[in-house]
């Protein structure tokens, strides 16, 4: 067998290795690192709260959530907890949807659209995550079921949202980020969580959108909500 033949076989093996890495091994490695990084972020949020870093305002009505201050572009300010994605599933949330520094990062994975509102705020808290590759933060977004609880953790506490439904839009469908999703220009009265990812898997042809509505919030001083308390406390 000549050198050319050996090179061709080698190239074939490398392509097979690449595909195996692309659809499986890369996500296993990246999601593990993102999970670990997010657990460290949760510890850091607790430390910051204990140092008195949280918002000082305390609402009279406990149902009225405290709104955390927006973070600088690229900074991690919170964590997203989705029990449907795994019993201990958590990812850090950074400001911005820059591919290189946020969405493709092995330490982040979920990005907050900076032009949208903060967790618990009246309007739309919109985040993006990959469907496949780079850890595939939102790989199971199509598995969400009506009523699934989604938690956003910040230094101030936990914001609980309840999943309502999926929508499919073109990549240009920025209306999903409006304070009232799909109704730009309308003044918001509800608190909405919007997740965007690509659709179908491995494609950039469409976007899959998940909507959730605000249920309640848990000030950090009172401890985490029961559904995720085991996850949060285990990391202390």
């Amino acid at each position: 067998m000549g050198v050319a033949g050996e090179l061709l076989i080698t190239a074939g093996v490398v392509v097979m290795l690449f595909l195996g890495w692309y659809i499986w091994l890369g996500d296993v490695v990246a999601s593990g690192e993102q999970q670990q990084a997010a657990e460290e972020v949760q510890e850091d949020l607790q430390d910051r709260w204990e140092r008195g870093d949280a918002s000082t305002e305390r609402p009279v009505d406990p149902g009225e959530p405290v709104i955390s201050l927006p973070a600088a572009e690229g900074d991690v300010f919170g964590a997203l907890i989705v029990p449907r994605f795994g019993s201990d599933w958590v990812r850090s949330i950074a400001t911005g949807v820059d591919l290189k520094t946020v969405l493709n990062s092995y330490t982040v994975g979920v990005g907050h659209y900076p032009e949208t509102q903060m967790p618990g705020e009246v309007g739309n808290f919109a985040v993006a995550g990959h469907r496949r590759t780079y850890g595939a933060a939102f790989g199971d977004i199509d598995q969400l079921r009506l009523g699934d609880l989604i938690y956003v953790e910040t230094v101030d506490g936990w914001y609980e949202y309840s999943f309502r439904g999926l929508e499919y839009v073109w990549p240009t469908g920025v209306d999903v980020l409006a304070p009232v999703p799909a109704a730009p220009g309308v003044a918001p009265t509800d608190r909405v969580l919007t997740m965007t990812s690509c659709n179908p898997r491995f494609s950039t042809a469409e976007r899959i959108i998940a909507y959730a509505v605000f249920e309640t919030w848990y000030p950090r001083g009172n401890g985490p909500p029961a559904e995720i308390s085991g996850v949060v406390l285990a990391q202390r």
Partner: protein
């Protein structure tokens, strides 16, 4: 090519096999660390945002 590599390596057969194994691991690590991420970014770009 691989025959030449086998001839260049010193020592008995089992030492050469160990060296080739280490070499293969190093090549795989380099692929995963640098080549595959580059290829994914360049050939198969992913975008999960709207309006970007």
């Amino acid at each position: 090519m691989y025959a030449a590599l086998w001839r260049i390596l010193p020592g008995p057969a089992w030492v050469r096999i160990v060296m080739l194994f280490v070499l293969a691991v190093l090549v795989f690590a380099a692929l995963v660390e640098w080549v595959f991420p580059w290829a994914a970014d360049t050939l198969l770009p992913q975008d999960s945002t709207v309006g970007g």
